[in-house]
């Protein structure tokens, strides 16, 4: 549409995530490393799912619309499952790495707690997922035209940006909840994460009715945000302390070793 729309959508989609990165992660190199590794793991899962998707599309009947839609749904479900599988894989890897790091380090306490790792890896997944969702759309938003000449909705760009924002934050919250559930062996928590991820992905099939896809996504986002807050050790009691940045015991200030 123009440069204004491009920057607007970029900042909407990545603003909060970049702010989180700058204020909480950028100063600690270890966190940065684990963030990037997390992003890489997400990328590998995408590669695998796209490989499967590509092969199935090639051998399918390209002319049948129902087959193509069915393949699309299959592709989305497979991708979600693979992403969660890779999240679990990353969790196992991090557990092993943490032991090794502890052995190597001179201090008694671990340099980074598993909760911090959960947050960082979730954000890494989110960054990469957001990038792949929206960068293509952003590059087309630079041109002079906007969506609509064939009758599509005019709010395509901004809806995509908001959806991407939601996905990035959701990945972060899912990471926290997932790791916490794995630590506590609460498998229903794992299942909830997977199912909510599936719901968010599949609800995008109702596009272009953007209210039908964005509203459920944001509802799930707020639910997951609250759950992650609780997993991280917050409660109604220290909510006020947290929001005014007065709680010295909180997560990132004072990590508790496991």
């Amino acid at each position: 549409m123009t440069v204004a729309v491009f920057f607007g959508c970029t900042f909407i989609a990545f603003g909060p995530a970049v702010a989180l990165f700058v204020f909480t992660i950028a100063r600690d190199p270890l966190r940065v490393i684990f963030l990037i590794a997390g992003a890489f793991f997400w990328l590998v899962s995408l590669l695998l799912s796209s490989l499967v998707w590509f092969i199935t599309v090639q051998i399918s009947n390209k002319n049948s619309a129902t087959q193509q839609t069915g393949l699309l749904i299959f592709g989305v479900v497979l991708s979600v499952l693979l992403q969660e599988a890779f999240r679990y894989g990353y969790y196992r890897l991090l557990k092993k790495a943490n032991e090794g790091l502890l052995a190597l380090s001179q201090e008694d306490t671990m340099p980074i707690s598993i909760r911090q790792l959960a947050y960082v890896s979730g954000l890494g997944f989110g960054f990469m997922s957001g990038a792949f969702s929206v960068v293509n759309i952003l590059s087309d938003s630079l041109g002079p035209g906007t969506v609509g000449i064939h009758g599509d909705s005019q709010h395509y760009f901004i809806s995509s940006a908001f959806m991407t924002l939601a996905i990035i934050l959701l990945h972060m919250f899912w990471g926290v909840v997932f790791f916490e559930s794995c630590e506590r062996q609460r498998w229903w928590g794992l299942g909830a994460v997977v199912i909510s991820h599936l719901v968010v992905s599949c609800v995008s099939f109702v596009n272009p009715h953007y209210q039908g896809s964005l509203i459920p996504t944001y509802i799930i986002l707020s639910v997951m945000a609250a759950w992650a807050y609780l997993c991280a050790g917050g409660s109604l009691r220290n909510l006020k302390l947290c929001l005014t940045c007065k709680d010295k015991d909180f997560l990132l200030a004072n990590h508790r070793p496991r």
């Binding site: 920057f7 900042f11 000449i149 064939h150 990132l252």
Partner: protein
């Protein structure tokens, strides 16, 4: 990408207007390098014009111009306005004015023969204004792109987009989102030929990857003669006295590569080809004393490129004949709109002040009149003080005062009301068929236009024979066949372009058949090979160039079939019976036989091409006043697309939203 497909509708058929430069000026159209975007508005009424130029709230506008509004006054108002991003002109016959000629009123006024030193009272059309209906639009410089919309379906897409989004409701402005169009036609050359060639030379000398900015207009002239001339012997040909019969091969219009030029050029080409067809057999049986030299000149619209080059070569002794060999000249101008009236023989009053030239010209006229006596047409001469119309003969006169005539269907100014425009097509020539004919039947039907041109061809052939000293008793054998003429002027009635289609299934020379279908087009700079990097030389693979077309028809009409093999045909000098200096050899495919196969064979003809590029580029005088200095700019991409644009408010709102979310971030607990 799929998002791009949601946003843009790409228009496939683009007919741009490109930039041309000469020694002092640039003409044509230019867009900015990243295209010009504007909100669509259809210009149908005067109030639309007002909306675009002053009252519309969403400038700049991309104007979709109905045919009736494509005239000088509207285009100049657009040119002077800053609210116009570009123009797309609908090319159709509905709403077409009675006349439209974007050429100047006095074609080629600076490079003809009339100047301060030669007939100064006749120079600059002081005597007769040849193209009074000309509005000079082709020679204006526009800073926005102008495209032509020839495809009806595409125009319909644009109209629908306009009606859906941009239509005014009850006089109030339309609401966003609005339909917009973006045109890309960025030209690399600026200012004039001198600047452009200087920059090109700098590029060629110092750059690793030289970027050529413009190309001189160049192509080839086609010539042949009744007695073969030795092509390797340049300069004066001994014992040769030659009568030149000439016409032009090119045309032009406001837009690039669109030049039907039916009355302006094709009438002349077809007449001369039919003349050759009529004359050739007789000149072989009963050869006249003088040689007859037929020549088709390219690039005459752009200050006589082809003819000035040939005269230059003749003067430099770089051609098969020189000016001393030339006895007289007969040129065929615009001869298609005779409508049963007489033809006019134009001559040059200044050279006729010389007694010997005057006698010879009068004798030419009387020969022509005696040849016309046996036919159903009349020839007349205009008043003696009238100058020559724009013609290649003027360039020969600049070199030497030879006697000559220019044959035309107009007495004073042109009868062609669409001179050098896109509307000078078959309809302008009154080529009409009775209803219910298939295309194959149309090919052989003898239209009135074909019969008229055939008569002119017969007249010219007989006059040339007499002029060359032939005997009167052979005149009755010289007749142009209307069937051949109608082959050459059959039309594609859907598009109203004159397509010269020649499929000689019922042909003269028994076993030769060429089928070439071609839309007449103007000269392009085609000296570089087809797959060159410069995308401006779009040599369309579906259309054969008119030069090749005429060359092969001439080979058909005047050549003889030989039984050489393909390799012998390509290297005939190895054989003692064949003479590469006197003839050219063409390997052609034969007529289609019953089961569709074709037997190719070798044709020997004395048809040659000679380079038609302005001498100014050989002499490196890019600012020359004597020769043509026309060049055509190069470009990278020419395309067009339509899409919707959103309001500025929506665009601005998005960063505001971002501000809101960012400030919230800072309050989250981080330490």
């Amino acid at each position: 990408s799929s998002v791009e497909q949601k946003i843009y509708v790409v228009l496939n058929e683009t007919v741009p207007c490109v930039r041309l430069l000469n020694a002092t000026h640039q003409i044509g159209c230019q867009s900015s390098i990243s295209g010009d975007t504007g909100v669509l508005h259809v210009l149908e009424t005067e109030s639309d014009l007002d909306w675009i130029l002053s009252s519309g709230p969403h400038p700049p506008y991309m104007v979709i111009m109905e045919t009736a509004f494509f005239n000088r006054s509207v285009m100049m108002r657009m040119k002077n306005s800053s609210r116009v991003a570009g123009v797309a002109v609908i090319i159709s016959k509905t709403g077409l004015a009675d006349n439209f000629s974007p050429h100047t009123t006095c074609p080629n006024q600076n490079t003809g023969v009339y100047s301060e030193s030669y007939g100064s009272d006749l120079a600059n059309c002081n005597g007769t204004v040849w193209n009074p209906l000309g509005n000079g639009l082709s020679y204006e410089d526009f800073s926005f792109p102008v495209f032509a919309l020839k495809d009806e379906n595409q125009t319909q897409v644009l109209r629908k987009c306009y009606e859906d989004h941009n239509q005014r409701v009850n006089g109030s402005a339309p609401q966003y989102p609005l339909c917009a169009m973006q045109l890309f036609s960025h030209m690399h050359a600026v200012t004039d030929t001198v600047t452009c060639m200087r920059r090109t030379d700098l590029q060629n000398r110092f750059s690793i990857n030289p970027e050529v900015l413009c190309d001189p207009l160049s192509d080839f002239n086609v010539w042949t003669s009744t007695r073969p001339l030795n092509n390797s012997a340049k300069g004066h040909a001994a014992d040769e006295s030659v009568v030149i019969a000439a016409t032009r091969l090119d045309g032009r219009s406001f837009f690039w590569e669109q030049a039907p030029a039916a009355e302006g050029t094709v009438s002349g080409i077809v007449t001369l080809l039919a003349t050759i067809q009529a004359l050739y057999p007789v000149t072989q049986e009963a050869p006249p004393p003088r040689n007859i030299f037929f020549s088709f000149f390219q690039g005459e619209a752009f200050d006589y490129i082809g003819s000035s080059k040939m005269v230059y070569d003749m003067e430099k002794n770089d051609f098969v004949i020189d000016m001393n060999n030339v006895h007289s000249m007969l040129e065929i101008g615009q001869v298609g709109l005779r409508s049963g009236r007489s033809l006019w023989m134009h001559s040059d009053p200044v050279s006729r002040q010389n007694k010997s030239v005057d006698t010879e010209v009068s004798e030419m006229m009387s020969r022509m009149q005696s040849a016309a006596a046996g036919l159903k047409l009349t020839v007349d001469h205009p008043s003696v003080s009238q100058p020559l119309p724009p013609s290649s003969f003027q360039r020969f006169l600049r070199a030497r005062r030879i006697p000559g005539l220019v044959l035309a269907d107009h007495n004073t100014s042109f009868t062609n009301r669409y001179y050098e425009s896109m509307y000078d097509d078959a309809e302008n020539l009154n080529v009409t068929y009775p209803p219910g004919l298939t295309p194959d039947e149309q090919l052989v039907y003898e239209t009135d236009a074909a019969k008229s041109l055939a008569e002119v061809a017969t007249l010219v052939a007989r006059s040339l024979y007499l002029q060359a000293g032939g005997e009167e008793k052979n005149l009755n054998n010289i007749t142009a066949d209307p069937k051949i003429v109608s082959h050459m002027t059959s039309t594609n009635t859907h598009t109203h372009t004159l397509t010269l289609t020649l499929s000689l299934s019922l042909s003269l020379s028994p076993s030769l058949s060429l089928s070439l279908s071609h839309t007449h087009r103007h000269m392009t700079s085609s000296h570089t090979p087809p797959l060159s990097l410069s995308l401006s030389l779009s040599l369309s693979l579906t259309h054969t160039h008119v030069t090749r077309f005429v060359q092969y028809i001439l080979a058909n009409l005047t050549g003889t079939v030989t039984n050489l093999t393909e390799s012998q045909c390509q290297n005939p000098s190895e054989l003692s019976t064949e003479n590469k200096d006197l003839f050219s050899y063409f390997w052609v495919s034969g007529p289609a036989s019953v089961n569709g196969t074709r037997e190719p064979f070798c044709v020997r003809a004395s048809v040659r091409l000679s380079k038609a590029v302005s001498p100014a580029f050989e002499l490196l005088e890019y600012g020359s006043r004597n020769y043509s200095t026309w060049t055509e700019s190069r470009w990278k991409s020419i395309r067009a697309r339509i899409f919707l644009v959103a309001s500025r408010e929506l665009e601005v709102m998005q960063p505001a939203l971002v501000e809101l979310t960012e400030t919230k971030q800072k309050n989250i607990c981080i330490s």
